[in-house]
């Protein structure tokens, strides 16, 4: 920008650059929001044990089904039942 300063060129260049800069900012904000939402959903999926079930399916190499979910529940039952909930 400094290379073409003077005679109003600054204003012209700034006007030309602004949409790009804005787009960059918008993209960064969008990426930030998407990232945060992804983490939020991942946290919910971990808390609600959906991720644990997916890991089980991957480990056991089976498709999701009532039988597979039953096996997953049996596998995690002991650990879950021993987990205290705080006061």
């Amino acid at each position: 920008m400094s290379l073409i300063s003077g005679c109003g060129a600054d204003t012209l260049v700034r006007k030309t650059l602004r949409p790009k800069t804005n787009r960059k900012k918008v993209n960064a904000v969008r990426a930030g929001i998407t990232g945060s939402l992804n983490v939020f959903v991942a946290a919910l999926r971990e808390i609600f044990e959906e991720s644990a079930y997916e890991r089980f399916l991957a480990r056991a190499k089976v498709e999701s089904s009532p039988t597979a979910y039953g096996k997953f529940l049996r596998e995690t039952e002991d650990a879950k039942a021993r987990r205290p909930k705080c006061c």
Partner: protein
């Protein structure tokens, strides 16, 4: 950010926090805005997290980003799973946040908002967060070992045994105390009782939906369950207005206690997927949403606090529970400031999910800060009520009298004006027959929460809905603690009995399941029954007893932490855990002394027993007081033994008579660091 700007920013936050703290501490005679409490807490937490926790991480714990965690080394895709730090944070927070930080501050508000608020803020940053953080890191360095196992290996067999006994005791007394909170909230309330009763079939339906229709779609099932619970709240309004149905759901305290005991037993013996797991999901769903909603409501409404900073009851004559501000305010608010129970969570599932050591700071220290913020919100919810209303709701009939006019006159004579008509209008507005003598903290919190919500969303027309939403939220919380706690207690008992006769230790053997579940339920059920029958309202005895148990467990956790710190050769930083340890010892031992031996019958169990003997009262009531005294005394003796064991161990190590040897898992370089380097 340039260094100068950073310094300016942190100076500004520190000054803002100091100014807000000074405002809430020094303001007298005029109401202050609740935002002062929020600003004081947030600024203090920010400064403590930025500076104190990083000091602990760097100097005391020497956190090593290159060291592989058990989640990485032992990754089995099941218990040990390296997980994103925010995900672990959410998971940890969901596990530590229970009804305690909501009920405790509401009860402690009888001293005014100041003692409780200061304790929540200072107790959290200097005690609770430190305990959670160090125990989490020490567990991470020991392959996710539990607190009781660490007590055994670092202090000795006595330490392990006492922490085991303390955990069982705290579970039993906690369950009795929180069940009493539910009973008092639902007593003579057809609307509340119907809503909570409906959560049982809703949970069963969720369990079947997850098992048979959409396997594993928990978020979907929880959202569906939540919608059904909301429908149940509206259905409850209809039930309360129908004379025939209202009669069915209008239950006495004793009936509700029996129903809760039956429920606890059923939840412990039924398969986890059928009742426990879906209820847990539903409760977590409601919990996370409601806490966020309450935070938004407080910031949007910015209510004034009607409760004075200090009330006359700091002298120990309070109607909610008897006892002076020291030590009882510090026992009443356990979760939210320092909670020994957290050490079980910090050495349970969480350490097995941590992928890098530095993340323990955010999860352990930061998670407790978030919990402490919940306690601040509960304090605000209690303090936005007119003090007269607060005391009318929270005072037992044995203190203020049964008739509304008598109760209102007694409370007004204390300097907190309230009329029977005013209470009747309020009860009508929230859809209850009466709000007098609704002890336990939950109804007062619900009225405060309904006040905040209805003023920021929906107006007075929705007051009754918000009140019952709050009651449902708390009862759901508590019932989840009840069924999970009964099951945990059952497993612990089975482990212990398995040493005596092997089949009893088999967790899938039905006779053993029935026997141990029955024993645990009978134990907490007894304390619940005792609370229901107590002429002083039950909370007066049970909540301080629960506080003593919880803080004694924190004492054991801090003993373990201090022992490890000394063995790590970091004795020069030992004050970080030693100061909260000394404070907790002072609080719990003083409180236990008063609860057992104080000559005032409203405080001392034995004095109360003597008073009952003199009055020729029921032998059962006399036995209950003696039992409470024995439990408090026995726990203090056991923890004193751990304390002495720990101090002797510290002296042996510091004097060089014993080698400073920590029992950590061997160092393994993390693959993540190697990948980053390459």
């Amino acid at each position: 950010m340039p260094k100068v700007l950073r310094i300016l920013l942190w100076t500004f936050i520190s000054l803002l926090g100091a100014f807000a703290l000074a405002t809430i501490a020094l303001h007298r005679g005029e109401e202050i805005n609740a935002m002062w409490l929020v600003v004081a807490a947030v600024a203090t937490y920010a400064v403590a997290y930025r500076f104190y926790s990083s000091f602990i991480a760097a100097k005391l714990l020497a956190i090593d980003p290159l060291r592989a965690t058990p989640a990485e080394r032992l990754d089995n895709g099941r218990d040990f799973v390296p997980t994103n730090k925010w995900v672990v944070f959410g998971h940890h927070f969901a596990a530590i946040a229970g009804p305690g930080p909501l009920v405790g501050p509401v009860l402690a508000a009888q001293f005014g908002y100041l003692p409780g608020t200061l304790w929540i803020i200072a107790g959290a940053v200097l005690g609770g967060c430190v305990q959670d953080f160090v125990i989490l890191l020490f567990s991470v360095r020991r392959d996710g070992k539990s607190m009781t196992e660490m007590a055994k290996t670092e202090i000795g067999k006595v330490g392990g045994f006492v922490s085991y006994v303390a955990v069982i005791a705290i579970i039993i007394i906690l369950l009795g105390a929180v069940a009493l909170v539910v009973v008092n909230a639902l007593k003579s309330s057809p609307w509340g009782t119907f809503t909570i009763a409906m959560t049982m079939p809703i949970a069963l339906l969720m369990g079947l939906y997850l098992r048979r229709i959409r396997p594993g779609k928990v978020l979907e099932a929880s959202a569906m369950g939540f919608v059904l619970v909301l429908a149940a709240i509206f259905g409850g309004q209809w039930v309360s207005q129908s004379p025939s149905w209202a009669a069915v759901f209008t239950l006495s305290g004793a009936t509700l206690a029996v129903l809760l005991i039956v429920y606890g037993f059923a939840a412990s013996v039924l398969p986890v997927w059928l009742l426990l797991a879906p209820r847990d999901y539903l409760s977590t769903f409601v919990k996370l949403g409601t806490i966020a909603l309450l935070a938004i409501g407080i910031v949007a409404l910015r209510p004034s606090l009607h409760m004075p900073p200090l009330t006359r009851f700091i002298d120990g004559t309070g109607p909610v529970f008897a006892g002076t501000v020291f030590p009882f305010a510090f026992l009443t608010i356990a979760c939210g400031a320092v909670s020994g129970f957290h050490s079980l969570i910090a050495s349970g599932t969480t350490p097995k999910l941590i992928s890098r050591e530095p993340e323990t700071r955010m999860v352990g220290y930061g998670g407790m800060l978030a919990e402490s913020m919940v306690a601040i919100m509960a304090m605000i919810a209690a303090s936005v009520l007119q003090p007269g209303v607060y005391f009318a709701v929270n005072s037992p009939a044995g203190i203020v009298g049964q008739a509304p006019e008598t109760a209102a006159a007694t409370i007004t004579a204390w300097g907190f004006p309230v009329t029977a008509g005013e209470m009747s209008s309020l009860a009508h507005a929230v859809g209850e027959q009466t709000l007098f003598n609704r002890t336990g903290g939950a109804p007062a919190f619900a009225v405060g929460m309904a006040h905040i919500f209805s003023n920021s969303l929906g107006g007075q027309a929705l007051m009754a809905i918000w009140y019952h939403f709050a009651i449902m939220f708390e009862a759901l919380f508590i019932l989840t603690v009840l069924d999970a706690g009964t099951r945990v207690g059952r497993f612990m008992l089975q482990d212990a009995l398995g040493h005596i006769w092997k089949p009893l230790g088999r967790t899938s053997w039905y006779p053993s399941i029935l026997l141990t579940s029955g024993l645990i339920v009978a134990a907490w059920g007894y304390f619940l029954w005792q609370g229901v029958k107590d002429p002083l309202g039950g909370i007066n005895s049970l909540w301080p007893l629960f506080g003593i148990c919880n803080q004694l467990l924190a004492t054991v956790a801090l003993c373990v932490a201090t022992t490890i710190i000394i063995k790590m050769g970091r004795a020069r930083y030992v004050l970080v855990t030693l100061i909260p340890l000394c404070w907790l010892v002072a609080v719990t031992f003083t409180a236990a002394y008063h609860k057992v031996l104080n000559a005032n019958p409203r405080i001392g169990f034995l004095a109360h027993a003597r008073q009952l003997v003199a009055a020729g009262a029921d032998a059962r009531l006399i036995f209950n007081d003696r039992l409470d005294a024995a439990v408090a005394g026995a726990l203090v003796v056991l923890v004193a033994v751990v304390l002495i064991e720990s101090v002797l161990e510290w002296l042996r190590v510091l004097s060089g008579r014993k080698a400073a040897e920590v029992k950590e898992a061997p160092f393994v370089m993390t693959r993540m660091a190697l990948e980053e380097q390459s």
